[in-house]
Amino acid sequence: MQRRNFLTLLIGAVTSLLLAPLSALAAVWNKAAFETPKLDVAIKSLDVVDEIVSQDILIIAPDKAENGAIVQVEIKSNIVNTESISILVEKNPTPLIAHFKFSNGAEPFVITRIKMAETSDVKVVVKAGTQYFTNAKNVIVLENGCG
């Protein structure tokens, strides 16, 4: 019994240690950008200005997705000094899906799986220095994935 108590205490202590810096991190989350139903508001909330269309952003996604609940997308930026990649789905209830920031040797590359409510463009915005670049790929969705 004593040992169990000690373990409970230990787990509690470790958890609180972990939580302290993380709850401070929670303030980082861009609420305005993630909760808006409007694509242009989401983009504005990410401080994006003057997007330049660029074929140096590669988007690999299926032309047709059977199930919108899981659509795998691969994004690679060939733009020099890419700092971040944002993924937006224009016709989702909340368009902003994810924002990835790269540092210390991380390649501007990501593969993830996203939800798509209906047929829509998957829009990617890349930040490089003070400039913003964008590209998009249309994905036909056969079955709604947002529930």
């Binding site: 993380l22 993630f34 609940a69 990835f100 920031k101 040797g105 390649e107 996203i114 529930g147």
Partner: protein
Amino acid sequence: MASDNMKMRAQLKGEVTEIKVLMSHPMETGRKKDDFDQLIPAHFVQLLTATLNGQTVLEAQWGTGISKNPYLTFRLKGAKVGDTVVVTWLDNLGKTATQDITVTQA
């Protein structure tokens, strides 16, 4: 710190280390209803960070549009066999999980 929540792999191929992460998380949007017509509250991962030997390499912010049981692949330059990659996530309910993996040769 090990947990059952995440499955990870980090493999060095040439100059690039590819890290694959599969997380266990419901990723509820807050718009779905249960069998009793009640809205299921939003429950989703908001922040994810990855470090290489303690140094931050990736900082992600996610919305509800990431699929259930999130999957992520990212790539690092400059990592060596034996280096440690740590991934930590935090969700909107304050839950968190962390997992580390050692870089191996592909």
